[in-house]
Structures are given as C-alpha cells and as structure tokens.
C-alpha cells in the first residue's frame, strides 16, 4: 500500500456491512463535532456490486476470487474519486470498509495472503485502522446483499453448486479480523469511536484510547 497524502485516512473494517456503516457515521459525527473537515467513502460507490446484483440470477456464478477482484475495482474507483481528492484537500477520510475487510474475507474463503496483499497494493496506507468487534454470540450474514460486502458475497455465493458455508466463513472472517487486529492495533466497539476521533485529532487522544482499552481489558 502507498503512503497517505496530506490528510488522514481512517479505515473501518468489520464482518457486517451494517455495523461498518454505523461506525462510519458515528466516527464522522464525532469528528464533525470536533470541527474536523471529514469525508466518507463507502462500499460500492462505483455501483459495480449493484450492477452484479441486478443481473439475472443464472449469470451470477461468481467465485470468492472474482468477488475480491471486483471489490478491488470498486476500491480503485473510491480511491480515485473519493479518497485521494479528499486527502489532497487535507481532510480526514473515513473509508468504511477498506482493505482489511476484503483481505479477511479472502482469507476466510481460502485465498492466499500474498495474493490478497499484492492485489490491494495500490490502496493508500491508512493512518488508522479500526476493526469492529463482533459479539461473542455467533452470528452470520443476513440475506441483505445491499447492506455490505460480506452480506453481498454470501448472497452471490449461495447458489453455487456446493452452496456457501455462511456461518463457517463468517467465523473464519471474524478470526482473521482478530488476527489483523495485532497488525494494525485497536479493536473497537462502536461507542469507542469518540475516542478514536479524539486520537486522530490530538496527540493526547492516543493516550486516552490506550488507557480506556487497558481499563476494559482488566
């Protein structure tokens, strides 16, 4: 991934599209509350997945690898039209979801980490990656394909000849997200996003976040 430009890029990643969108809205509001100039970049800004979902069902025979490539094409669009222009204007850009969501989905479906990392090499490196925590109770993706990347993939992969192991893949993605947590630092609940906003805007904020995390872990 390339280095960020003038502004700051905050990536929000998670298994559920709804959670990711909610977190992006919460973070954006927290940043606006602190008078920061922000922009957001959401999944499927290019409309590629929407177009795929509108195609006749018998044509939608896609593999996880094809879906990851499609995500990369959508992200390339978002980087060009939403993320990079906002970073050039020194804005704080909330990208929800970003690279980690696609990489962990790819890992959960058996794609290699080397391939996934290479494909997403074009994306600017985020200043901060927030990985949303999943509740302990086992969940899975609902059949609401327009809600997010995971939901869309689960819907598109379901009619394949061998079906799609929804719960198993979801659990594998959650595990991969937890592992990714170690690389980027910081797994958050939605309510912690106010602290993230603080951290992004002030150097003192970082300490506040770390203290809060420590307290919680006790």
């Amino acid at each position: 991934m390339s280095e960020p430009l003038g502004g700051r890029l905050v990536a929000i990643d998670g298994a559920h599209g709804g959670d990711v969108s909610d977190a992006a809205t919460a973070l954006r509001e927290a940043l606006i509350h602190r008078q920061a100039t922000t922009g957001t970049s959401h999944w499927d800004a290019s409309g590629l997945f929407g177009d795929i979902l509108a195609a006749p069902a018998h044509q939608r025979d896609l593999s996880p690898r094809t879906l990851v490539l499609l995500y990369a094409a959508d992200l390339a669009f978002r980087v060009r039209w939403e993320i990079v222009p906002a970073l050039h204007r020194s804005m704080i850009v909330v990208a929800a979801p970003y690279v980690t969501t696609a990489i962990t989905f790819g890992l959960a479906t058996g794609l290699s980490i080397e391939w996934l990392r290479t494909v997403f090499r074009f994306a600017p490196l985020p200043t901060r990656t927030v990985i949303l925590r999943e509740p302990k109770k086992a969940r899975s993706w609902k059949r609401k394909p327009k809600r997010g990347f995971g939901e869309c993939c689960a819907t598109l992969l379901e009619p394949t000849p061998q079906g799609f192991p929804r719960k198993k893949t979801w659990a594998a993605m959650v595990n991969a997200l937890s592992a990714a947590d170690g690389e980027h630092g910081g797994q958050f609940r939605t309510r912690d996003l106010r602290l993230v906003a603080q951290e992004i805007l002030t150097p003192r904020g970082r300490q506040a976040v770390q203290t809060s995390k420590r307290q919680r872990s006790r």
Binding site: S46, S63, T66, A73, R80, W115
Partner: protein
C-alpha cells in the same frame, strides 16, 4: 516404502484428466493482425476433423461485459480500474467457460488471452509483476500464437477500416484528441510490451504480413505439433481452485 509424497484426490483428478482434456490455444497480437480471421479458419478446419471446438473472445463474460461497456462508454475508467475489471471478466470466463470446456475435452481457441491484457495494461504504465499477480492463479495456454507486425502496419490496417475507440487508441493515457494519432503512439508501446512478453513466455510467432492462406498453413502445422503443457506442472492451482468450487466437475472427475 515409497518416499514420494501422497497426492491429494484433486491432484490425482487433474493428472488423470490431463490426457483427455482439450487443448487451449491463444491468439495474440495487435489490432489488425488477423487473429480473428485465423481463429475462425482454424475453428472450421478443426471442426471438419470432427473435433469439438469452442471460441473464447476477449471481455465477453455475459455478467461482466455490460459493466465494462457502460463504464467505457462514459470514459470513466482509470488504467487501474480498467485492468481490474478485465481481470474480473477473465477470471469469470476461466471459471465458467474455458475450464468447463477444456475439462469436457473441447479445444478452446482464445481470441486474445491473458497476454493482451498484460501488454495493454503495461503500456498504460501498470507494473507487470502486479498485473501477473492480479491474474493469478494462471491457466497457461498450451500454445500461444503471436501474430507479429510493425506498429505502422497495425495503424494503417485499423485506419483503413474504422476509427479506433477511446480506450483502444489509448487516449486515456496519451491525452491526444485525435484517436488515430493516439493509436499510433499507443500501439507502439503495446507492441513493445508484446515483444517483451514474447521473449519471456516463448510465444510461437506468425508473420501477420504474410498472405492469409500461408499464415493458416503455418497455424495448422503448429497446432498439429502442439503438445499439452501438463496441468499438474503449470496450472494446478487454477484448476484445483475451480474443481473445489465446481461440484459437478468434481463429481464427474471422481468417477473417472
């Protein structure tokens, strides 16, 4: 006791199918080099010899093609998006058209394959290493026929029949308003990249300036002499990924 590692069921299936599978032949070269003409002539000839043949045209996936076409029309694609969308189309065709046909024993004639994308996208300034990775895992063709011609001849032949389209003429990267002038500049880069690829991947070259009949004679001879590149050595990852997904082929293969 044998020291040979035990092969998985999928590896065994791939090795067994290699004998009966079809041949994958790629037709590569710049615009106006006569690839399509030669592909059609070869198809007719092979069909006359009772061979089951299918053609695979570039960017023709019924699912992805409309997406690309709409975005091309409004000139909305950057070189990166252009490349990634074609990678989506290519992967979709590999999994739904090319591999099922090869598995069923049909010969596949690909009118432009992976190398067209590599040459064109590299000419647009993308890294060859990244491009190869984005198209991985690769399904290697058994024979790559590269129709060579100088850039001037390609420009002349294209100009004689039609005006090149926006992306075809590389106007998105040259910034030149005149499609023909842009095409002349762009095709020079594309052919340069093709020449590099030809040296790396050892294409079989056909002189596209020769008479159509002579080229066809050469193509026939080359196809008759062509040997399969063993899937187990070259394309195992691509085939096994498809087999794991496509239960029908898996089941049929298990019966073999």
């Amino acid at each position: 006791m044998s020291l040979k590692p035990k092969r998985s069921i999928i590896e065994q299936m791939i090795a067994r199918r290699d004998k009966s599978r079809g041949l994958l032949i790629a037709f590569e070269g710049p615009e106006g080099s006569g690839k399509t003409t030669q592909r059609k002539l070869l198809k007719t000839w092979l069909a006359s010899r009772d061979q089951s043949v299918v053609s695979a045209r570039w960017a023709s996936s019924p699912l992805v093609r409309p997406l690309i076409r709409v975005r091309k029309k409004i000139r909305a694609l950057s070189p990166l998006e252009y490349s990634l969308l074609h990678a989506v189309d290519f992967r979709h065709r590999i999994e739904t058209e090319i591999l099922p046909a090869l598995w069923a024993g049909q010969t596949v004639l690909a009118d432009r394959y992976l190398f067209a994308a590599l040459a064109r996208d590299a000419a647009r300034g993308l890294e060859l290493d990244w491009l190869l990775q984005s198209y991985a895992p690769l399904l290697w063709p058994d024979l790559v026929l590269y129709f060579t011609m100088p850039p001037q001849v390609s420009s002349r032949r294209v100009a004689a029949t039609r005006q090149p389209r926006f992306y075809e003429s590389g106007q998105d990267v040259t910034g030149i308003d005149d499609p023909l002038i842009s095409y002349r500049q762009f095709i020079d880069r594309v052919i340069g990249e093709y020449e590099n690829l030809s040296a790396i991947f050892k294409f079989v070259t056909v002189n596209a300036e020769e008479a159509v009949y002579r080229q066809h004679q050469q193509v026939r001879t080359l196809v008759e002499q062509a040997r399969k590149r063993p899937w187990t050595d070259y394309s195992a990852e691509a085939v096994s990924e498809w087999l794991r997904r496509d239960f029908t082929a898996y089941r049929e293969g298990a019966r073999v």
